[in-house]
């Protein structure tokens, strides 16, 4: 059997595509490791239209529930990773980690993004041992301790706010001169009395023995290298697209995102579309990911009709 469409990813973009594909009766399969994507790690989402406030996990449950409601019209594989995508004539072969090879006419890539790494000594060694990427998960372990957040954009400021109820002392490291996040967050952080903002700071190394015990950074104004003692480092310097699987198939931009036509969301190789954080859209919001995935799916429908 050959599918018309395989959707890879179970975040907002993948699920939106799944719902539209099933309503259009496209013979489709959605493959995902798990549902929800990056949206899951938001404590509360206040800008998703239709909900005054919803948690990331609640939204994930709603998405999954709506998609599974269409399960007579679409096949779903959850808990599956993709090993490889190959071209086969005009079609594609998708090879899973379960050793299965599935053939399809088109692919929508919606694999999203994951936390960007700092790439300094100690980071990989101490991941989980004081270096964390999910502040909302691991902030409670900093009760009564000193912690650092690296990154002064909105995700960094949110990390500081997640730590406020627990940590005694929080260092916020920002590479440039000013924090880039929303003023509403900056005020909250400045008023807490717990946060020391270190701007113009380049984190050089994460120190420790078995667990993290400190951090070394360069004060970029003076060139001086300083050291602070702390127990946790929360890295919030944005996201990188999960394009390892497709980097040889389609064209990427300098950020590693898949370059798409913004009217159709087609990638550089015929038969492949991309939407959500993995595509080169200017803005990465849950709502824009959904909108882009819907456009892509409708375009796939038109393409399949003509094929």
């Amino acid at each position: 059997m050959i599918y018309d469409l395989i959707i890879i990813g179970g975040g907002p973009a993948g699920v939106a595509a799944g719902i539209y594909a099933s309503r259009k009766k496209i013979k489709a399969l959605l493959i995902t490791d798990s549902f929800g994507g990056q949206a899951v790690i938001s404590d509360t989402i206040n800008n998703f239209i239709g909900y005054k406030s919803i948690s990331g996990v609640e939204l994930k449950n709603k998405l999954e529930e709506q998609l599974r409601g269409q399960s007579n019209l679409i096949d779903i594989k959850e808990g599956t990773k993709i090993e490889k995508i190959e071209k086969k004539g005009g079609d594609f072969l998708v090879i899973t980690d379960e050793g299965e090879t599935i053939e399809t006419k088109t692919i929508l890539i919606a694999m999203g993004s994951s936390s960007r790494r700092l790439n300094v000594p100690g980071e990989a060694e101490f991941t989980g041992k004081g270096v964390f990427y999910c502040t909302i998960c691991d902030a409670p372990l900093m009760k009564g301790k000193a912690a650092a957040v690296v990154g002064g954009g909105n995700s960094g400021l949110e990390s500081v706010i997640d730590l406020l109820p627990y940590a005694d002392k929080i260092y916020l490291f920002e590479y440039s001169e000013n924090l880039k996040g929303d003023p509403i967050y900056i005020d909250k952080i400045k008023n807490s009395g717990k946060v020391e903002i270190c701007a113009m700071a380049a984190v050089k190394e994460i120190l420790g023995n078995k667990f993290v015990s400190g951090l070394k950074y360069e004060d970029r104004k003076t060139g001086e290298v300083k050291e602070v003692k702390l127990n946790g480092v929360f890295i919030s310097i944005g996201y990188r697209p999960n394009t390892d699987l497709v980097k040889d198939l389609v064209k990427l931009n300098e950020k590693g995102e898949i370059i798409v036509n913004h009217q159709t969301h087609q990638a550089s190789l015929e038969g492949i579309w991309a939407a959500g954080d993995i595509a080169d859209s200017l803005y990465n919001q849950i709502s824009t990911a959904i909108g882009d995935a819907v456009k892509a799916t409708l375009n796939i429908y038109d393409y399949l009709k003509k094929k």
Binding site: G36, T80, G128, K129, I136, C137, D138, A139, P140
Partner: protein, 77 residues
């Protein structure tokens, strides 16, 4: 016997617990942000501090990893 070490704010902990419920598997939960003994136990078992940590009959899984859970539960049956 299944133990799950969590914090109250961690979304992947909720997802792991939901997955156990969906599979009809019994588990015991320990909140490591308030239970210091459990925190020590979790760190000793997993050699790290991130949550969730799952202990399925002595097999330790760090994070919510469905295929790992399926593998371990499948082997336990």
């Amino acid at each position: 016997m299944i133990k799950i070490y969590t914090t109250q704010t961690c979304p992947y902990c909720v997802m792991a617990k939901d997955y156990f419920k969906q599979k009809g598997v019994q588990y015991e939960e320990f909140d490591v942000s308030s239970d210091e003994k459990a925190r020590e136990e979790m760190i000793n078992k997993s050699n790290q501090m991130g949550v969730p940590v799952l202990d399925i009959d002595g097999v330790i899984i760090v994070g919510f990893n469905r295929s790992e859970i399926d593998k371990v539960l499948g082997a336990a049956k």
